[in-house]
């Protein structure tokens, strides 16, 4: 055997050749769906009110199930899917992952024309990317009109908001000494005591833009962020950020989600985020119908439901809905709330992400 040309190499070569037959793995194969696909929603879009709901219920039941891809945390996802199934009888197949993974999965599946998701619910950047890839169908229900203008995007609609605001450890930061403005985070008294998150460039670009609009020069803004980053502790993930804040590893977290802090507070942890620092920065989380949906009626029913009954589920879990349910007081009333600039996020993503990384990498000032 040793004298003949390596069989092993021949075998490996054959495998390589077979693999190569698959063609270019990363070249775009075009998007699935196509123009006519969105028409599967047309027959319902003209309907309104109860008539629409009844027709959707009947057709969705016939379809029997719905596939939802989302980056809701699992407790939220479980509550939402359970409530939906209880009320409509339609089973939800749930795929849950971080927002960028959800996007990658949808892109992979659509490039192979695999109809995986019926509805996608995830972060603004990824929703906007799905819109740009022309994978999602227009949604024009009455419920969408109830969502504020700042929550209506091309083909996707905000279903809830994550709010960024500073939070602090109440044992380390006595009442009255907590930060009362974003600028206060740059105060040297927080050196070594402030945590910033590795991925929050959406927060960064929004605050940056806000300060620009309010007359600060670029140099001033860079100095403010530079002073924040100077001595800051960089953490990855909002969960870790919250956990270590409550454990006392640092006193102030710059950009955590308020609902995470609220939950820790509800359990008795020594953390707080109220009074909220203004402007509160809201990042939309949105939902959209897939053009390639295998269960269009169920998909449309789910989106309608999410913007109606689903809003109540969000409120019960301490999240911020995109349509305040009737009879409830808006907890953000009277506060200045600004929304993350989604277009800027999508189109200048790399620039801001790089700039934010550079800012954090310079934070290496602690011994």
């Amino acid at each position: 055997m040793a004298t003949r040309p390596g069989r092993l190499i021949a075998t490996i070569g054959l495998t390589l050749a077979l693999a190569a037959c698959g063609g270019s793995p990363t070249a775009s194969n075009g998007t699935s769906g196509g123009g006519e696909a969105s028409s599967k929603y047309d027959q319902y879009e003209a309907l309104k009110g109860q008539e629409r709901r009844d027709k959707l219920m009947a057709d969705a039941k016939a379809e029997g199930e719905i596939s939802l891809y989302t980056s809701m945390t699992s407790d939220v996802a479980e509550a939402v899917t359970k409530a939906f199934t209880d009320q409509t009888g339609v089973k939800v197949n749930l795929y849950r992952a971080a927002s960028e993974t959800v996007l990658q999965r949808v892109l992979q599946e659509s490039s192979a024309r695999h109809a995986g998701a019926d509805v996608v619910e995830t972060d603004a950047l990824e929703m906007a990317a799905l819109g740009k890839e022309k994978l999602i169908a227009p949604y024009t229900g009455e419920r969408r009109d109830l969502v504020g203008k700042e929550g209506q995007f091309d083909n996707w609609t905000a279903s809830r908001y994550n709010l960024f605001s500073p939070s602090w450890n109440t044992t380390k930061v006595p009442a009255g000494t907590q930060p009362t403005s974003w600028e206060a985070l740059a105060d040297p008294k927080f050196d070594g005591q402030l945590a910033m998150e590795l991925n929050d460039y959406d927060w960064y670009l929004t605050l940056y833009g806000y300060w620009q609009q309010h007359g600060k020069s670029t140099a001033e803004i860079d100095k403010l962020f530079g002073d924040m980053a100077n001595g800051a502790k960089v953490v990855k993930g909002h969960t870790v950020m919250g956990e270590l804040l409550s454990a006392g590893q640092y006193s102030v977290a710059a950009s955590n989600y308020t609902y995470l802090v609220q939950r820790a507070q509800d359990k008795g942890a020594p953390v707080a985020y109220r009074p909220l620092v203004q402007p509160v920065i809201a990042r939309p989380q949105g939902a959209a119908l897939m053009k390639s949906a295998a269960h269009p009626a169920a998909a449309l029913l789910f989106e309608d439901w999410l913007l109606t009954e689903g809003q109540k589920v969000f409120v019960d879990l301490g999240l911020t809905p995109s349509i305040e349910p009737q009879g409830l007081k808006d907890p953000l009333e009277g506060l200045e709330v600004i929304s993350v600039d989604v277009n800027k996020l999508l189109n200048e993503q790399k620039k801001w992400s790089d700039q934010y990384n550079a800012l954090l990498e310079k934070s290496d000032k602690l011994g």
Partner: protein, 582 residues
């Protein structure tokens, strides 16, 4: 594939199986031996090439053809030298620490009469079983300069903040501890298969114990040590959990943070990620070449020969209590302390440093909540199926592959060795993308089932399986196989009756390792799973994202218990079929 040059065969006695030149018809009709070897080669080549092909294509080609832009984006950054420097420093440190710990523990365990042997098992497995995020956070709670419990208790003696886990040393410490079980398992297998008469003769001739260890024992274990270093360095170069949790805080960025950043973007910059992975690949291939070179004169390491031997534990004499004390100390520090922190946290509503108040408000709520998580049982079941199946498949295939690589004279066998090693450098997410790309287009409905996860796990753990099997194979002398063949046994009979039992310590060690780490695989699982196919690591990730750190600790405790039970069973079974045991 011109990556690993095919070397002219090393001078080895001709051990080709069967009659020297079979007639032509025998050569055309596949023999069982040829079939087995062929199938194994095909499996390895297929598993390894699919993700690599995807990686290479994504790296070097874009819509307009061949390009090196990815490299420019990946490395064209003034910080890249810092990153590579940090990474190498971290990887070499962690590899060195785990090598010393793993080898030391394995030696004491197998070859000496050290007390508390029962503790070894736990000390060697538990750091591997605890999910990386949890183990690292447990160390933050222990060794942070601000809130670390160890610092708190050491303060009266050494002053403030004597330990700082948020430093390159802290990173090396935590990563080294997490990696040491791989070394331990490899070295235990190697020491078990080592004839102590060589050491005894050295002792008789007047050498001191330390000299014997240095001049006889360690050189004999060289294949295993080289394999361990290779895996360790590549593993730590790739690791992101520990650098992310411990390094970032003080601005220590590593090579893999670049991979993380470029994959985070939309559209994910596969080309730059690939370029970074190719960097790792080059390092890994150099490593494989060195390790082949180091293991070349294989006959020197063949300690399992036709002569019967029984490893007799070496008497430590007056050093016995010292060794015992060291073991207990090590066990307390690396196993008991982090586990206690987890257990403590799992009983709280939110983490707070221990005080009268926290102890009085302890509750089992987190465990209750875990029991009510609907997918917990499904996830446990799926993880078990996947862990056992991938460990068994990989080790079965690798036992044969090791024969090809170490024993056969087949040309290109080194290529097989290199191929089996390469999946180690493919980032988990890229692996997930590659597999979903292939199986979304495959006519066989594998996408969306548990099988795609199985394929992913088998691919990811090929390299470990190969190292475990090859290392063991290098210690088995040719003469045993030759005598079987001379006595008329077929190749298959020889393999099954002679080689496999002798290989068993290594195979069992590899099996245990794969089983345990498969419970932690997240980066490709999260992209490939589908509803109903959740695995335990996804559940951990979800609890983590929910901010339920206390529930997560409870889950960690449950996982440790489950896996320790499983591994105990495996050890008992393995010991029965294995060569020899203590």
């Amino acid at each position: 594939m011109t990556l690993a040059p095919t070397r002219p065969s090393a001078p080895m006695p001709p051990v080709e199986s069967g009659p020297s030149e079979p007639p032509l018809w025998r050569r055309i009709l596949p023999t069982p031996k040829f079939l087995t070897l062929g199938v194994v080669t095909l499996i390895i080549a297929y598993l390894a090439i699919v993700p690599l092909y995807y990686l290479f294509w994504g790296t070097f080609f874009d819509a307009s053809g061949f390009t090196l832009d990815g490299f420019k984006r990946a490395y064209g950054n003034d910080q890249i030298f810092d990153l590579v420097g940090n990474s190498l420093w971290f990887a070499v440190g962690a590899a060195a620490l785990s090598l010393v710990l793993g080898t030391g523990l394995a030696y004491l365990q197998v070859r000496t009469d050290v007390p508390f042997k029962a503790l070894f098992f736990a000390a060697s497995i538990i750091p591997l079983v605890i999910p990386g995020i949890l183990y690292t956070i447990a160390w933050i709670l222990l060794g942070s300069p601000d809130i670390g419990l160890l610092n708190h208790y050491l303060e009266p003696i050494f002053g403030r903040a004597v330990l700082d886990v948020f430093s390159i040393w802290g990173m090396i410490w935590v990563e080294g501890l997490q990696l040491s079980p791989i070394v331990f398992l490899l070295m235990v297998a190697s020491f078990r298969a080592m004839d102590p008469s060589l050491e005894e003769s050295a002792l008789m001739s007047g050498a001191s114990r330390w000299t014997v260890f240095r001049k006889v024992t360690i050189p004999l274990a060289r294949p295993a040590i080289v394999a361990a270093i290779l895996i360790m360095v590549v593993r730590s170069l790739e690791s992101f959990e520990v650098p992310a949790l411990l390094g970032l805080q003080n601005g220590i960025y590593v090579f893999t943070s670049r991979i993380y950043f470029v994959l985070r973007d939309y559209p994910p910059d596969l080309s730059a990620a690939g370029a970074l992975a190719v960097g790792l690949l080059v390092l890994a291939i150099i490593g494989v070449i060195i390790s082949n070179y180091a293991g070349r004169a294989s006959k020197n390491y063949q300690t399992v020969t036709g002569k019967g031997f029984r490893p007799r534990p070496m008497e430590l004499g007056r050093w016995r209590p010292v060794a015992g004390l060291l073991i207990v100390g090590y066990f307390l520090l690396t196993v008991v302390a982090p586990l206690l922190v987890l257990l403590y946290t799992s009983l709280l509503k939110f983490y707070a440093p221990p005080s009268k108040n926290t102890f009085s408000t302890m509750t089992l709520d987190n465990y209750r909540q875990l029991a009510h998580t609907s997918s917990a049982l499904t996830a446990l079941k799926n993880s078990l199926i996947l862990g056992v199946a991938s460990a068994t498949l990989v080790m079965a295939v690798m036992a044969v592959a090791a024969w090809i690589v170490v024993r056969s004279q087949i040309r290109g066998r080194k290529v097989l060795d290199a191929l089996a090693f390469l999946p180690l450098v493919v980032p988990g997410l890229v692996m997930g993308l590659a597999l979903s790309f292939v199986y979304l287009r495959s006519p066989i409905p594998i996408y969306g089932t548990l099988f795609i996860l199985l394929i992913s796990y088998c691919t990811r753990y090929l390299p470990y399986g190969m190292r475990y099997a090859v290392t063991s194979m290098q210690q088995i002398s040719n003469e045993l196989e030759e005598s079987a063949l001379v006595n008329g046994a077929s190749w298959w009979q020889t393999f099954r009756r002679v080689l496999l039992p002798l290989l068993m310590p290594g195979v069992v060690a590899g099996w245990i390792y794969i089983l345990v780490v498969s419970f932690r695989e997240l980066s490709s699982s999260i992209l490939l799973y589908s509803p109903g196919n959740e695995v335990l690591s996804i559940l951990i990730f979800e609890q983590f994202e929910n901010g339920q750190f206390t529930v997560l600790s409870a889950l960690g405790v449950v996982m440790v218990l489950t896996l320790v039970l499983l591994v105990t069973i495996a050890y008992k079974l393995g010991a029965r079929v294995g060569l020899k045991q203590d």
